[in-house]
């Protein structure tokens, strides 16, 4: 990543733009797999990645679920962390001072248990200048409406995006759940409601059972499946969403290697997020960025934007 001047002129440009945010390259962490950034500072240069995406933030601190919270499955993992986080106020006080020192855009992922909470967090994010964009997690149950997940109902999804949009002038990325019959319906709904970009996919709901104890492996019984196991589904859904809306799309789901990230870019994602792979290899994103650059050189591509959406 640090070539001398003579080779620099021949290097392909990896810079992309999403909803007005310029990224030095299209690779960023998926929310919930990278803490608040500082956890990974010992293992990679945080100024080498395209952006930092925080753990999902809520109005009040959230304790999360009982344990066991994670279980490994074939080529994947199930998690039911329960969105444990320090809360927006502690984030501002204790996590922003570190993030402020970095020359890398910070995207804050956030969620609420009610429509009102979504609105309040959005208002507070608006007031944190270090946050360049917000990523809205709508894969949460609406506590006030019988626990129906906002993101599985186009009407509820539209409502929450509209509310957040009214409180937030910063670029708004909406992260979609794949646990729906037709993801393009929700994608179109959030586009109409004012989203600036779409991120897909969140985890797929799954379950694993210990046959000896006959108990679910997770205390929460079910959890979100991530990792390479879900990648083909994610690529398919990104492809569908890219066709359905005119917003930029951030592709996420099971990216471990550069070639995985390239699939998403070719399918039309403007940027990608790396999730579970950060757990396996804390410098995975650096390896992926270097691999994308090598691929561009091999293919004679001098600007990554030539590759994006180049599916034949």
């Amino acid at each position: 990543m640090r070539p001398d001047q003579t080779t620099q002129s021949k290097r392909p440009s990896l810079a992309v733009e999403i909803a007005g945010i310029r990224l030095r390259n299209p690779v960023m962490p998926a929310s919930g797999t990278f803490g608040y950034g500082e956890e990974y500072a010992p293992f990679l240069d945080l100024e080498d990645i395209g952006a930092i995406v925080t753990k999902g933030l809520s109005l009040k601190p959230k304790a999360g679920n009982p344990t066991p919270r994670i279980a490994e499955t074939i080529s994947g993992m199930l998690n039911a962390i329960g969105l444990q986080n320090v809360g927006i106020d502690a984030f501002k006080k204790h996590k922003i001072p570190f993030l402020r020192t970095l020359n890398t855009p910070v995207i804050a992922n956030f969620f609420g248990n009610t429509l009102e909470e979504y609105g309040e967090v959005a208002e507070r994010l608006e007031d944190i200048p270090e946050i360049v964009a917000a990523e809205l997690n709508i894969s949460c149950p609406n506590v006030k409406q019988g626990g129906i997940v906002f993101g599985t109902d186009p009407k509820a999804a539209s409502e929450v995006v509209r509310l957040v949009r009214s409180k937030l002038s910063k670029p708004l990325i909406v992260k979609l759940t794949p646990n729906v019959t037709d993801i393009t319906v929700v994608a179109r709904a959030v586009e109409e409601a004012g989203a600036d970009a779409i991120c897909c996919i969140n985890t797929l709901t799954g379950m694993s059972i210990d046959i000896r104890t006959r108990k679910p492996r997770l205390a929460n019984r079910t959890g979100g499946l991530s990792g390479p196991a879900i990648r083909p589904i994610a690529v398919r859904m990104v492809h569908q969403v890219v066709q359905a809306v005119s917003l930029p799309v951030i592709g996420v789901g099971g990216i471990v290697r550069a070639m995985d990230a390239l699939e998403f870019l070719i399918a039309g994602a403007t940027a990608v997020q790396v999730g579970t792979a950060n757990f396996v290899d804390p410098s995975a994103m650096i390896t992926i960025i270097n691999g994308i650059e090598e691929f561009c050189i091999e293919e004679g591509i001098d600007d990554i934007n030539q590759l994006i959406g180049s599916l034949r």
Binding site: T67, Q84, F279, V280, D281
Partner: protein, 284 residues
């Protein structure tokens, strides 16, 4: 802490189902403290997807092949073959490429030096106690109480003896040492050494019994815990345990990887411990 892309020096079965792996790790020893751990990965192997956490047994140097070469620094882990990950590990050989992230976590607190120290290990829970013993022997009187189901679960006792540690072995079936639970031995030692400090690592039922005895005899206790974890660096939040005073309204979840794996017993909510009754993650 650092991610070592390195290779195996040796990997041997030391007792049925138990293995000792020595891994090349330059510069590891001066950063590592007793009670810390590593996240281990078989390079280029998918599955298993996630790394596995292992306690550090010890670090050391191998003499060089010839005089003008530097000595070879290594880290050693002991592990039990229980699931898919450790079964793959058991089949690795000298020279095989592996990755090691570490040293990670908080080790044992050795600030109250001097006096009687009692180390209690159950089966593979013995692992973090060796480095602890080697750090304690110079200034303390150190005793190791080692328990297991059968003689096969009793590991590395002679190595502790070589450090100058007095060792007591107990097995459930009496096939080695005293027949019965390690806590029986602990009770006798606490009666004899009322000012002793206790350090324990092993299965949760053993840790709970050790804690009961330490409460009874008012002995300070530090325990090393094991939990499923994906990252080892405080990001996944998969390995949390409840801290003392935890309630649904005022929750206190502590990451085993960063707040632990060693905890002072009084900092934990013991009622919430031991939910993970599977021996492995079950990815096989």
């Amino acid at each position: 802490m650092k991610n070592y892309r390195t290779k195996i020096i040796s990997n041997q079965e030391i007792s049925p189902g138990y293995y000792r792996m020595r891994i090349l790790a330059p510069g590891f020893g001066k950063k590592a403290r007793s009670g810390q751990f590593v996240m281990f990965r078989v390079q280029r192997s998918l599955p298993p997807l996630l790394r596995r956490p292992f306690g550090i047994f010890r670090t050391g140097f191998l003499p060089p092949d010839c005089d003008d070469m530097p000595p070879t620094e290594y880290v050693e882990i002991l592990y039990k073959r229980v699931g898919r990950g450790t079964t793959i590990m058991a089949e690795l050989h000298e020279g095989d490429r592996v990755e090691l992230l570490g040293p990670l976590g908080n080790g044992f607190d050795l600030t109250s030096s001097g006096g009687e120290k009692i180390l209690v290990g159950g089966g593979i829970g013995l692992v973090p106690l060796y480095m602890l013993a080697s750090e304690l022997v110079d200034n303390n009187s150190v005793r190791l109480l080692m328990g297991g189901r059968t003689r096969d679960d009793i590991l590395a006792v002679t190595e502790f003896e070589r450090l100058g540690v007095e060792t007591y072995v107990s097995t459930d079936d009496g096939s080695l040492g005293e027949e019965g639970l390690v806590t029986q031995v602990l009770e006798r030692k606490l009666q004899k050494y009322p000012d002793a400090e206790v350090f324990a690592c092993g299965p949760m039922p053993m840790l709970k019994a050790v804690r009961e005895k330490c409460l009874e005899y008012q002995a300070p206790l530090q325990v090393s815990l094991e939990e499923f974890m994906a990252c080892g660096v405080g990001a996944c939040l998969g390995c949390v345990v409840k801290g003392v005073g935890h309630t649904d309204e005022t929750p206190s979840y502590l990451c085993t990887c960063t707040a632990g794996p060693v905890f002072k017993a009084e900092h934990l909510d013991w009622t919430g411990l031991g939910n993970n009754d599977s021996e492995c993650g079950g990815c096989s």
